[in-house]
Amino acid sequence: MRINRLFYTRDFRTFSKGFFKENTVCCQLLGLCSVLAVSNKCENALAMGLGVIFVLIISSLIVSSLRRFIPIQYRIITYMIIISSLVIFVDQYLKAYFPEISKQLGPYVALIITNCIIMGRQEAFAVRNPLRYSLYDALGNGLSYTYSLLIIASVREVLAFGTFFNIQVVPQGFDKWIVMAMAPGAFFLLAIYIWIFRRIARLQPEK
């Protein structure tokens, strides 16, 4: 009974809206550059996803708690300064503790700054909602971005390298699909993923 009631609270609805109904990748079509570019290996995808979740949550909390003080005409530049300071932190952390992953991700870590998901959530939600709901919204959106990235990355890594999180999963003699590790494979898989997701979620087709 308790759990049933949970589904109707505003907290849960805010979370699930970002998590499934308005999935960042499939419905809002935001942050696609990094989805395409980083999804060639699962470990890169996981590192990127966690980085985005971290930046999204902290920046949402800061913007939401400062929302009465941010002047309306300078809000974009304010978001940018907050976001890029957080991204510098993530970048330095990765460089120090996971130099291998940091090298593979290259400039894409810094490109979290211009990832439209983060800017979009600040502008659409955090700047006019209280702290608690901004947290749930950031969490839902960040998680939906991460699972989309991981789904695409797991298919691409198995087909392109024959591994899953660097563990060999396909038998010997499997022909590797090199094209899956490159740009065209990313485009085709994302198209298929969007197609399947829209089918399941029964979304209205775009014009």
């Binding site: 079509l29 696609l32 890029s84 211009t114 439209c116 490159m182 969007i194 087709p205």
Partner: protein
């Protein structure tokens, strides 16, 4: 090894196209590619801003950030430069070329969050380009991005007339498929020049 500027220019357009090889600038590529006219307008705006900001960022990096040992702040500086350059260009166009404003001005605010612009400055730092190399690289990347969005928009315009696409693929999905086929085509250029 010192790379010749012409080599970098050709590579940035064809073999290392910023949209189709590095997969950057996808959000505007999806949103602005419905019509050829708007796509080309956006492309020209990107070329302009990209070249200008990369020049400013190179100068700042070389003469301010490196001498003071504050390379760690580079992301913050780059993004502020980009945001203010876009604002400045917008004001200049409004003041001196009011006729351009209608066709061109609407794209400018969107460019601030276009990841290609920031990416050019980041690649320039990663690869240690000289001043000429940076200018040529930025110009070539801009032209390459403009080419990619123009081709996609042209194909989408024709596709609208046929209009027999499954519901789930309409819009974003079919654009991804077009971009994928285009990327396969551009892979044919690889081997023409190599810059790595």
């Amino acid at each position: 090894m010192e790379l010749h500027p012409i080599l970098i220019f050709v590579a940035a357009i064809f073999t290392h196209n910023i949209a189709l090889t590095y997969l950057l600038g996808m959000c505007p590529l999806l949103a602005m590619s419905r019509q050829l006219n708007t796509a080309v307008g956006m492309g020209i705006a990107v070329i302009l801003v990209m070249t200008l900001t990369s020049i400013i960022n190179w100068l700042l990096m070389r003469f301010v950030l490196i001498p003071t040992g504050s390379e760690i702040m580079s992301y913050l500086v780059f993004i502020i430069v980009i945001a203010s350059a876009v604002q400045l260009i917008e004001m200049l166009i409004e003041r001196y070329f009011p006729r351009l404003q209608n066709s061109f001005g609407i794209f400018l605010p969107l460019i601030t969050v276009n990841c290609t612009i920031l990416a050019i400055s980041l690649f320039m730092v990663l690869r240690d380009y000289t001043f000429t190399q940076t200018v040529v690289f930025a110009l070539g990347s801009g032209v390459g991005w403009c080419l990619a969005i123009a081709i996609i928009a042209a194909i989408r315009e024709k596709l609208m007339l046929v209009g027999d696409i499954p519901d789930g693929l309409k819009g974003a999905g079919i654009t991804m498929v077009i971009a994928g086929i285009l990327a396969l085509g551009f892979m044919g250029f690889s081997g023409m020049v190599s810059i790595q």
